[in-house]
Structures are given as structure tokens and as C-alpha cells.
Symmetry: C2
DNA sequence: TTAATATATGAACATGTATTCATATATCTG
DNA sequence: CAGATATATGAATACATGTTCATATATTAA
């Protein structure tokens, strides 16, 4: 009932309440400064927790907590190599969404 | 120092800490169920507060509070016609960002 | 096994946030 | 003007969230 019949997206597939929640949860992951900077770290190449923490001047614990959220939201994936756990972007959508927001912000909004 | 030299966006313009904050603030506006549904209401056509509230089965007060945030973030704009204030999307970017997120969510994430 | 390193996790704390309720402002009608 | 309607706003409440700190788990090296 929320999405009108005439919008592009709702023609393809109507937006359920569950979808709205999923969508809000997705954007919530992009709504924190630290998480954005973590994702940004992962754009050029995969990284271990320690390196991300160093790059952001934050504790590995704080980064680990945020990485857990990003992983739960399927924005990043992991790969263990010995003691270290390598984090990388789950797919290209992540950077697409980031860039879309960046465009808006950088165009003076 | 956060964005590597080799990423597309940072070549065009480096991402400052201020930009990260602006970006986080932008996504924060998309990170709430109610605000997403409000924006969705505005996709097909401009709407007054009362109608949005009715469509979402919420109080005009709650909607007004959220509309204020959306307006502060320049996602919507207003136009007064007599007693009623008509809200509409500020630009096409809003729906672009929404759709980009929707694609990700609907592709099973 | 013991020590060291990398990461994860739970509790606690401080801060932020969405809604409600009461009330205020603004516009229109009579 | 008074009354009705549309919207906005401030305070209060309940709940969510990010970081820190202490501690736990897992892997490697000696």
C-alpha cells in the first residue's frame, strides 16, 4: 500500500514491510563514519583487522566489532590465513552504493 | 590517508573527514524504516503531511519530526499552499540512492 | 607446553534517536 | 474576531548504538 502502482520498482516487485526493514538495515551499515572508512579501506584491496585499525587510528577491538556488523550484513566476507583474518568486500554493490551517496554529497547536496 | 590513491573517486577528489561525516549523515537519513516509507510516498508525487501520515498509519506529529530531518538533509523540499505544506523530493539522487540499495537487498544481498 | 600474536566477544557506559503527548504557530472560514 | 484545520516543536520516554576495557579463543613459534 505504501508504494504506488506507478513507480518503476514496485512494478518489478512490490516493496513489502520486510523489504523496507532490510533496506533500512542496509543503509544503517553505511550510516556510521567508522564503517564507511573501513569499507573505503577495502576498496583498493583486502585487509586484515590490524591494518584497518592502524589505518583508521583505532583499536582492533573497535574495528572488530564493526567488521562483525558488516559481515552480518553481508557487506564483507572473510578468509583466514594463519592467525590473521582477511576482510574483503562481499560484492561490487557495496562500492556502488558508496559512490552513489558520494556523488550526492559532493555535488553540494 | 584513508582512501588509497588508486580508487576512482579519490582520484577525482580525495575524501576528507568532513566528507565521510556528510556521507554518514546522508545514509543515516535512509537508515530508518519510517523515513524510507516517507520517501517512497514522495516518489510518485508530492504530498502533504496529513496524507503521508494517513498512508503510513502514523501521527502527523511523528511524520513532521521525520520530515524536518529529511528537509535539513536536503532530501526533500517544501511548498506552502494555504494551510497545507507540500513536501516533494529535492532531486533525482534520492530515488537513485534508494533504488541502488533496493537492488542490493532484492538480489538476495 | 609456554609465550606471543591476531582476532573476537561480553559487559558497561555514554550518547543518539524515534515516537508520544502537550502545546504552539499559522492559515482559513464564518 | 472566534473556531477549526494543518503543521511544527519541545520535553519526556524508551530503545538502539559505538567505544572501551577486560577477557576469551585461535594460531604460530620456540
Amino acid at each position: 500500500m505504501i508504494p504506488s502502482k506507478n513507480t518503476k520498482f514496485s512494478l518489478a516487485s512490490p516493496i513489502t514491510q520486510t523489504t523496507f526493514c532490510d533496506l533500512a538495515d542496509l543503509f544503517k551499515l553505511f550510516s556510521d563514519n567508522t564503517r564507511l572508512r573501513i569499507l573505503c579501506c577495502l576498496f583498493p584491496k583486502e585487509q586484515c583487522v590490524k591494518n584497518i585499525a592502524a589505518a583508521l587510528h583505532m583499536t582492533p577491538s573497535a574495528i572488530s566489532h564493526q567488521l562483525r556488523l558488516l559481515k552480518q550484513g553481508k557487506l564483507v566476507k572473510t578468509q583466514r590465513i594463519g592467525q590473521t583474518i582477511i576482510y574483503s568486500l562481499a560484492d561490487e554493490h557495496v562500492q556502488s552504493i558508496f559512490n552513489q551517496g558520494l556523488n550526492h554529497v559532493q555535488e553540494g547536496k
